[in-house]
């Protein structure tokens, strides 16, 4: 398939190379990010200090499973900063299910992101209880998990088993400090990757998000 436009690309802003995504909700900013016009198309500059996915892309995520038209389940969508860029990339044919349980941030997510983007569906539930996701349908191509819970890997696995297609990707953000403050981050990343392998995932890559986020890593794994 020949793609007409790059939904995700690098742009030069003030002499610096930055990531940017094609704005699906033209003219609307989500978190005061810069909007720039390129050949008549509007792009939103993607800040790697505010979005771990952007940080991972800049640090060399080899196989980016997030592409136009895919279906994605996002655990811990928070106020929707990263989700809005994913929504840009997957475009109108894609679907993003955003799971968030905390009322404060979920409200912002709905008001700032869901209302302007037809490809985003909110689910206000605890990610520990995937059986309660009412609005989800079909299986998804990618599960993106950013929960900052000590048992987040188990939660991600639970969700993948229920909703992820075979061969689909799990992108798991690991914050070592929310798992165990006393251990070295590297050890924790390895431990969580092992957990995934024991559950039948193949770990593709572990990306350290330093210097954008200290003590964070993103694990890309495939469920086989």
């Amino acid at each position: 398939m020949v793609k007409e436009v790059n939904r995700l690309r690098k742009v030069k802003v003030d002499g610096e190379e930055r990531l940017a995504t094609l704005n699906l909700a033209e003219g609307i900013q989500v978190y005061n990010e810069r909007l720039i016009k390129l050949n008549g198309l509007e792009y939103r500059v993607w800040d790697p200090f505010r979005s771990k996915l952007a940080a991972a892309l800049l640090k060399g995520l080899k196989e980016n499973p997030i592409d136009e038209g895919i279906k994605l389940l996002y655990l811990g969508v928070s106020t929707g900063t990263t989700a809005s860029h994913i929504s840009d990339i997957i475009g109108e044919k894609g679907i993003l299910f955003g799971v968030e349980f905390a009322p404060r941030v979920a409200r912002e997510f709905i008001d700032r992101v869901v209302k302007y983007r037809r490809n985003v569906i909110p689910i206000i539930e605890d990610a520990r209880r995937p059986d309660r996701y009412f609005s989800i349908f079909g299986k998804v191509d990618v599960v993106y998990c950013d929960l900052a819970q000590p048992d987040q890997t188990d939660i991600a696995i639970l969700n993948c088993k229920r909703y992820l297609k075979n061969g689909g990707h799990l992108l798991l953000v690991v914050k070592s400090r929310s798992i165990d403050v006393t251990k070295q981050p590297k050890e924790i990343f390895k431990g969580e990757a092992e957990k995934l392998e024991n559950e039948g995932f193949r770990v593709n890559q572990i990306i350290n998000l330093d210097p954008f986020d200290k003590d964070h890593a993103l694990i890309d794994a495939i469920m086989e």
Binding site: I95, P103, A106, R107, I110, V114, K115, R118, V120, I121, P122, I123, I124, D131, F134, S135, I136, F137, G138, K139, R162, V181, T182
Partner: protein, 395 residues
């Protein structure tokens, strides 16, 4: 014959037990509300129509979603059961295909119906979550603490400012409220009089001290403009004191409704702060008592974990009078027994309700026991202490 009644965002889909579509019925309007009413067992025109049409087609047994709907069908004389969790999970994930196949909506329409429904459902859920009383409590105790902080900040400024004119007063009147009231009432120190001070309920000794100090004050003169600003500021601080009192009463009333047992065991303000720190009563009830004991001392805890030194004995619980008024060596034990009872109290408040007097009695008994059993400070093993200190500093 058995029929599946699949209640989804777009309407009601009727299939046989092999999921072959029989027919489907759209909701007339307001899908979200209609869906909920039907699922709660109400008979709306849609479900009435579906049932009579299904009966016409020879179906006499129905498999439905939700126990309440099943019960109302049974009440009406139908044979009815609910889907098993597995069946429902499979059907539910494929409902877009079912909606398209039954002619309820096109693929694209289905997506937007599901999305609109999801937004409405989420908003309803958020409304429900944020109308919980314990969240009101969390906000009000935090407001109270912030008002208190503001009072301290502003009143300290008044002391500094008025101190230019009457520096001796600060050491005589240390209470912030009394100090501010003094500034509002008298303004300049030469307007002081004995009768007024006695009216203010100040003890004889203090009255004399103030009058003496005023005569010999080393403070400078105040311009009218400065005095005016200073008095306005002091008045606002007095208003903040009223606000603080009001909020305090409000917090006590609310926690008595939300968590009477926590309020009884921990005291209303400490209880409210614990609920605020945990996030909600539900979250507090899910915490182990060891976590409750050091809630609010996270910094010390993580430092202890990093350096393998001694962990903190108490966090917010330190504000409980039984803890901070006790001798140092008893505090850890007291904090632990209070935390134990708070953990139980929070669970009773969340799941059962009702006030349980024995919690307080048990706690009092235990506190008495600690006081007697550990009345003497422990003898310190100097050698061991040195070792612990060394470990704390190292690594």
């Amino acid at each position: 014959m058995k029929a599946f009644l699949i209640l989804c965002e777009g309407g009601i889909i009727v299939t046989d037990d092999d999921l072959n579509i029989v027919f489907a019925k759209r909701y007339a309007d307001e899908p979200f509300k209609t869906f909920n009413r039907i699922q709660n067992g109400e008979f709306t025109p849609e479900i009435d129509e579906v049932l009579s049409k299904a009966v016409e087609k020879g179906f006499d047994e129905f498999v439905v979603m939700g126990e309440r709907l099943r019960d109302s069908l049974v009440e009406k004389g139908f044979k009815a059961e609910t889907f098993t969790a597995n069946e429902l999970g499979r059907i539910w994930l494929n409902r877009v295909e079912l909606m398209v196949r039954s002619g309820l909506a096109s693929q694209e329409e289905s997506l937007s119906i599901i999305r609109d429904f999801a937004i409405e459902r989420s908003e309803a859920k958020l409304r429900e979550l944020s109308s919980k009383l314990d969240l009101q409590l969390v906000e009000s105790i935090q407001a109270l603490d912030e008002v208190d902080k503001s009072i301290n900040l502003l009143a300290t400024r008044v002391k500094e400012w008025y101190g230019l004119h009457f520096p001796e007063l600060a050491s005589i009147i240390s209470d912030l409220k009394t100090y501010c009231r003094f500034v509002v009432k008298y303004g300049r120190r030469d307007r002081l009089n004995r009768e007024g001070l006695i009216e203010d309920d100040l003890p004889e000794k203090k009255v004399n001290a103030i009058l003496n100090a005023a005569l010999r004050s080393k403070g400078g003169e105040l311009r009218d403009e400065d005095l005016k600003g200073l008095m306005k500021l002091s008045e606002e601080i007095l208003h903040l004191f009223d606000l603080k009192e009001y909020l305090m009463k409000h917090v006590i009333e609310t926690i008595e409704q939300v968590a009477p047992n926590v309020a009884m065991v921990a005291g209303p303000t400490v209880g409210a702060r614990l609920i605020a720190k945990a996030g909600s009563l539900e979250k507090l009830a899910q915490l182990p008592s060891s976590t409750i004991q050091i809630l609010g001392a996270e910094k010390a805890l993580f430092r202890a974990l990093r350096t393998k030194s001694k962990p903190p004995k108490h966090g917010i619980i330190f504000q409980h009078p039984a803890v901070h008024s006790a001798p140092k060596w008893q505090r850890g034990k007291i904090a632990r027994s209070i935390a134990n009872k708070i953990a139980i109290a929070a669970r009773i408040d969340l799941y059962r309700g009702g006030k349980e007097k024995w919690l307080e009695d048990d706690l009092k008994k235990r506190l008495e026991e600690i006081k007697v059993k550990y009345s003497e400070p422990p003898t310190i093993d100097r050698k061991k202490l040195k070792e612990v200190k060394k470990r704390g500093k190292g690594s």
